[in-house]
């Protein structure tokens, strides 16, 4: 799964720790998601989408290659 979490977070001007605190996970988890090393649960994906005011599919895209 690919995502543009890092770009969205940069646009928002928040740190990984601040985003993590906002959605109730650790900074390491946000870092792992941004580096495509961890696919979040549906619950966390919804949390992130709600935080950025968009849909899950706006942030996460299937890796087609």
């Amino acid at each position: 799964m690919r995502n543009d979490l890092a770009e969205r977070r940069a646009d928002e001007g928040s740190s990984q720790g601040e985003l993590a605190e906002a959605v109730g996970v650790t900074r390491q988890t946000i870092n792992a998601i941004e580096r495509d090393r961890y696919d979040p649960s549906l619950e966390l994906a919804f949390e992130l989408a709600a935080h950025f005011g968009c849909h899950i599919e706006d942030i996460f895209h299937p890796a087609l290659d």
Partner: protein, 141 residues
């Protein structure tokens, strides 16, 4: 939160260091007690270290405002547990029946230590089966 101080004053790093440190101290205490022929003192150090460490490991995520563990930790734990059980199963199925056959044929002798290991592995799988049953009941209720 891992790097964010909360009202409870504990961070993820501090939490990990505390738990691993206490358990490590307990193990070192046990070893020192054995080496110095002070088994009671060593056992006491071990029990205090491990029990206090375990209490913090399970309790801190509940009482702390900080996020000390999250879904990624749980997933890694699940995967590691599954891998460990898989290794025990493969070793068990691959080694135990032939070992008993060879023992019955008088080619090898299953020592007390090996018998203890087999019993331990069997008990572990029995516990796993019981836990799996409990989890299945809870998730299919």
């Amino acid at each position: 939160m891992s790097t964010t101080n909360s009202g409870s004053g504990i961070t993820r790093e501090r939490y990990r260091r505390l738990v691993y440190g206490l358990v490590g101290l307990g193990i070192v205490g046990l070893a020192v007690g054995l080496v110095l022929d002070q088994p009671l003192a060593g056992t006491s150090a071990y029990l205090v270290g491990v029990w206090v460490g375990a209490a913090i490991a399970f309790g801190a995520p509940k009482w702390s405002d900080a996020t000390l563990q999250d879904e990624r930790d749980y997933e890694r734990h699940d995967r590691a547990s599954g891998l460990a059980m898989g290794v025990v199963m493969v070793l068990g199925i691959g080694l135990i029946p032939p070992l008993y056959l060879l023992d019955a044929g008088g080619h090898v002798v299953i020592t007390e230590t090996v018998g203890g290991l087999i019993a331990g592995a069997s008990a572990l799988y029995l516990l796993y089966g019981v836990c799996l049953g409990i989890v299945q009941r809870r998730t299919h209720a």
